[in-house]
């Protein structure tokens, strides 16, 4: 663990989205007084993560837990309300676009919906050549062409595709093209936001293998966002489980599946429909996922947690290292009640 150099650090990240934008919409007339109520969606409430070079950190959680927002903040698509993003030692969340440009070349992103991640009006050639021309201005046309051919060959794109338009391809083929676009700037860090959730099972395997091959061949570091734990077991070296904007458990993939500590992680693992006879006790959660607008007090999971007690309702559990390299934020684990 020690000789690994830190590539990405997320420090005390908070991100809130005001629900009603205009000043006018926020005014409400309650019991005679004009009050300005600004309701906010608390997407991320204090997230700390580090990714070492060459690792693949998977961030897992259900919809509304803020995992995609983390990805978008790391890639500077949205700025954090509070906290910092540090890439290879430099803080990148407050840079002007000029100074940010070199980092843009080194960090790239792969998206979820293959039918919306390619510009429908551009041929595949333009889509792939545009980043190459942009990031390699000094290279000659021939050199750029070789970069293009190598990238296409590495993701299994047939050269005859270049003249065609995105709507002529299947979901799997489009995802390959979008991966080629991300790899065309020869990045060192890739954020993949649920890259295979929108694909069929047989195609998912193809794309996942592609990402694994790329990771080995190019020594890439990954931030992999997904809601499917079985994919995590396959791809991730480390896992962070998120629930309503906070991280409830962080460890290596192996120890997460061997000994899940947080009750939510246990519920997630037991909820995956297994092929074999499933006689494992199914950890039953009750109630509905609360909205991230008015978060529950204390531990955000207490409304659905079968082990919640008064302490959980009032005091937010701090992240502790229950076992070496295995962090968890839960009073019940702390008091060995589970």
């Amino acid at each position: 663990m020690t000789n690994k150099t830190k590539l990405l650090e997320i420090k005390n990240l908070h991100r809130h989205f005001p629900i009603k934008k205009g000043f006018l919409e926020q005014i409400t007339l309650e019991n005679g007084k004009v009050t300005r109520k600004v309701e906010k969606v608390h997407a991320i409430n204090g997230v700390d993560l580090t990714i070492n070079k060459g690792d693949a950190l998977c961030v897992v959680g259900e919809s509304g837990c803020g995992k995609s927002t983390v990805a978008r903040v790391v890639m500077n698509l949205i700025s954090p309300t509070e906290g910092e993003i540090i890439y290879d030692g430099t803080r990148i969340d407050n840079l002007k676009s000029k100074t940010l440009l070199p980092f843009r070349k080194r960090m790239q992103m792969i998206f979820q919906n293959p039918y919306a991640s390619l510009n429908p009006r551009m041929t595949i050639l333009d889509t792939l050549m545009e980043p190459i021309k942009f990031h390699y201005p000094k290279k000659t046309e021939q050199e750029r062409r070789t970069i293009l051919d190598d990238t296409m060959e590495s993701v299994g794109i047939d050269p005859s595709w270049v003249v065609r338009y995105p709507h002529e391809f299947s979901g799997g083929q489009r995802q390959r093209i979008s991966i080629a676009r991300a790899l065309s700037t020869d990045p060192e860090f890739i954020v993949a936001d649920e890259p295979i959730s929108a694909l069929d099972v047989s195609i998912q395997a193809q794309v996942l293998n592609l990402l694994m091959k790329a990771r080995e061949e190019r020594q890439l570091t990954f931030l992999f966002i997904t809601h499917d734990l079985s994919v995590v077991e396959q791809f991730g070296s480390h896992v962070a489980v998120m629930y309503l904007g906070t991280i409830c458990e962080y460890t290596t993939t192996k120890s997460l599946f061997d000994k899940p500590l947080h009750p939510y992680t246990q519920a997630l693992i037991s909820a995956i429909p297994k092929l074999e006879e499933d006689n494992r006790p199914h950890v039953k959660l009750h109630g509905e996922v609360p909205t991230p607008v008015n978060l529950p007090t204390g531990c955000v999971f207490h409304t659905r947690c079968p082990f919640a007690n008064d302490r959980c309702k009032t005091e937010t559990p701090a992240k502790q290292e229950a076992e070496p390299g295995h962090f968890v934020a839960c009073h019940a684990v702390d008091e060995d009640r589970i």
Binding site: L24, E25, I27, T28, L29, V34
Partner: protein, 326 residues
């Protein structure tokens, strides 16, 4: 509900403020108020002195503030032509236009809803093709040609309808000169209101048809069929209520177009309403009357938009007007 009204009030103030600034700017550099009030013979010096006395040389802002102060008290300047307060002149003519707009709206709602819904439910039938044919022709015929056609057919050839004027009116609840009270008044109303309606009717038929066809493709309609509900219930409750939402919002915006077209309709039918008055004021460059008309029309829009939003809020449950605390 209070919040909704409070917000509307705030928007109304902003809109009226902008309109007043625009109207004042028009008044300021449009025509010379003095020329109208004072004959040619008055010398330049006297004219200059009079201008000073009337405060026409003050800076723009002070003149505007004076204008706004008067406006708030209902004094929008006096019309050059009528030599009466502009507001009173317009208010006298308002009932004619309002009644015309009401009749036109009734005609639109009464015809466009059934025709639009029918064309959506049976897109292939001959009647729907006819309806769509008429509506696309309708939006291609300028309103004055419709008017000429109607007058020619009903007034000249068949002689059934009066071709102009408003017929006799009698006061209804005090100061409102209404044409509804007598058959002759209504008789005169028919052709102009159909002309005014003819602009929007095809538009709404096409809008209702396309919205309804979208709704009929939606999942909840398919689920209604999957539950074995009667077709009529699916069409006229499930689909219809969802269709009406976008139609109400568009209706709110289109009221502006209707008020604008009253100018045209009233000119053709010599209808003694605000629109006709406005056009005469424009030809006579009777600035205070023009300005007064703008402000009143602005007020009408603010009121109608509020009403339309209110209706929308009542029909669409996702818009919680009443801030029911969850």
């Amino acid at each position: 509900m209070a919040t909704f009204l409070f917000r509307r009030l705030w928007q109304a103030i902003v809109v009226m403020f902008i309109i007043s600034i625009l109207s004042f700017a028009i008044q300021d550099n449009l025509g010379d108020p003095l020329r109208e009030m004072v004959g040619q013979s008055v010398s330049e010096a006297e004219r200059e002195e009079l201008r000073d006395k009337m405060g026409l040389n003050d800076p723009f802002l002070t003149q505007y503030l004076r204008f706004a102060k008067n406006a708030l008290q209902g004094d929008l300047g006096t019309s050059y032509f009528f030599k009466e307060p502009a507001l009173d002149v317009i208010l006298k003519k308002m009932p004619a236009t309002i009644e015309l707009v009401i009749c036109a709206t009734l005609i639109i709602v009464f015809f466009s809803v059934p025709m639009g819904v029918y064309a959506a439910i049976h897109p292939r039938s001959f009647v729907s093709k006819l309806i769509m044919g008429i509506s696309i022709a309708g939006i291609s015929v300028p309103v004055f040609l419709t008017a000429i056609g109607l007058i020619y057919l009903f007034a000249i050839e068949l002689g059934m309808m009066p071709s102009f004027g408003r017929g006799d009116t009698s006061p209804l609840l005090g100061m409102w000169e209404s044409g509804f009270t007598s058959w002759d008044g209504i008789h005169h109303l028919i052709l102009p209101s159909f002309t005014l309606a003819s602009i929007m009717l095809p538009l709404f038929i096409r809008l209702i048809r396309s919205e309804m066809m979208d709704v009929l493709q939606s999942d909840y309609i398919k689920f209604a069929r999957a539950r074995g509900l009667k077709l009529n219930r699916i069409y006229y409750l499930h689909a219809f209520k969802n269709t009406m939402l976008p139609v109400i919002t568009v209706g709110g915006v289109q009221i502006g177009t209707m008020v604008a077209y009253t100018i045209l309709t009233e000119t053709i039918f010599q209808w003694p309403g605000m629109g006709f008055l406005f056009l005469e004021a424009v030809n006579r460059v009777d600035t205070p009357l023009i300005v007064a008309y703008l402000i009143i029309v602005g007020a009408i829009f603010v009121v109608t938009n509020t009403i339309v939003d209110l209706i929308y809020g009542l029909v669409n449950p996702t818009v919680n007007l009443f801030h029911s605390s969850k």
